[in-house]
Symmetry: C2
Subunit: 119 residues, 2 copies
């Protein structure tokens, strides 16, 4: 049985992917994959998403060099979410931070708690 | 400005929430909130989701006792995903595991890598 057959894609053909740094366990980002980009991710060992805004394949790092190398893959109980532990080259966030979750709720406001990465 | 105004709910009025164990940094589950359950979560300090399958408010732990106590809250760069670090009482997964991501890809199959929690 193909492992992808156990993955439940939604009505748009997508599954949610959480990406986590394998060393620090920091959650880096949340994005989506379709069947083809999931297949490519598993075959190549590099994270390839489906961009909902651009409606196209999105090899993370293709323009920035900030590739994500797959180290471990988990699936949740319902089969409708995936968790990837990766080695993150540079930062995951297009705004220059290691993680897209660089803002934390502090005293009723969203405060930046990460510094930008120097490339 | 209300911090919830910076949260971008989707066309169904939902935002994705990743829940992570504050001590181990293990990712526990992925679920959804609407404006009301996010507000309640922030006010009460207990995770309250919106169940898409049941189409109703879902106070995590209400029947199981497996409450999730909010310790830290992060928002991503696009404002369309939230990350909650929580103190998890018991297990997060309704199947009896600490995390819903209890299956890992091992040699081309999904293998259980967590044991069930004894209550």
């Amino acid at each position: 049985m193909n492992i992808i057959d156990e993955v439940k894609f939604d009505d748009k053909g997508l599954i949610t992917a959480i990406t986590q740094d394998v060393k620090s366990d920091r959650v880096l980002m949340l994005a989506f994959m379709n069947r083809e980009t999931l297949q490519e991710t598993l075959e190549t060992g590099k994270m390839v998403y489906w961009s909902r805004s651009r409606q196209q394949r999105w090899l993370k790092g293709e323009t920035s060099g900030h590739f994500q190398i797959v180290k471990e893959v988990f699936i949740d109980c319902d089969g409708d979410a995936l968790l990837f532990k990766v080695e993150q080259k540079g930062g995951a966030c297009h705004k220059g931070y290691l993680s897209c979750f660089y803002r934390k709720l502090v005293e009723n406001r969203w405060e930046k708690v990460l510094k930008k990465i120097e490339d």
